[in-house]
Symmetry: C2
Subunit: 155 residues, 2 copies
């Protein structure tokens, strides 16, 4: 078995056996060197964002002291959900290797299809999650402050 | 101005002035009572997932001691990116009020259109982020362990 996928899979198993979350694990490496590893901790931490990939990205960013992980790759025991896929995108990781598919995940009760559907057509699913514009003009003030800021760091 | 949107906007301003991240703030409330508030901390924490909504969801979940925030609503100074929208979905928050639009965000350098595009058609954007299946059969072992687990908590 691919050694990085084995680490991701073993992380998944550890999380299940310790009742920390669903069967999902991940590892981030750079040129074959392990930077961070982790598993789903939604049940342990009561944090709905604590998916294996998010946990591992946060640890890798902390370990390297930077938010740009473009020289890293991620191995995950299951195809990332849209939240994790977006987080991977923001972190600039360039390669992701995944074991189980999102269909496999749906088969054991972790279905992210509704999220894909929502992202594609939010207007058709306002009964599930209402998304309402409010006070745009007032909020634009802070955008202008950002634009005018001389010492800002773009990222 | 709507008082909850004002809190979200003021959080955005605080983050900018303290050089903690982009001009984005959020607040989570329940029946008008504030549960948690926060702003983008990507620059402060070097965490690429530390968007205002994620920071605030994590704080609200910690404050309430649960990952299910279905009785809460979120006010955010800007339309959520796909990562945050998915996190909101996983947290089961049912209503989101947002100030600036994603087009406004793109205009000041925070463009999430590529992520929407990737989520819709990953096969067309493998040059940006390579997504490769690997070792599915081996990884399915942990899914079976989860299925067979007698004391598991579904979430």
């Amino acid at each position: 078995m691919n050694p990085l996928m084995k680490i991701a899979r073993d992380e998944a198993g550890k999380g299940v056996r310790n009742n920390e979350g669903g069967p999902f694990g991940a590892v981030i490496s750079r040129k074959g060197e392990i930077i961070a590893q982790g598993h789903n901790e939604v049940l342990k931490s009561n944090d709905p964002t604590a998916h294996a990939e998010i946990v591992t990205i946060r640890r890798a960013a902390e370990a390297l002291g930077r938010y740009d992980l473009s020289d890293c790759e991620l191995h995950t025991s299951c195809e990332p959900c849209p939240m994790c896929l977006s987080a991977i995108y923001w972190s600039r990781i360039s390669s992701v290797y995944y074991g189980c598919t999102k269909e496999d995940a749906a088969n054991i009760g972790f279905d992210d299809n509704a999220i894909y559907e929502y992202i594609r057509h939010p207007e058709q699913h306002q009964d599930e999650l209402k998304l309402v514009p409010l006070e745009r003009e007032e909020c634009l003030q802070e955008f202008r402050e950002w634009q005018d800021k001389q010492d800002k760091k773009m990222y």
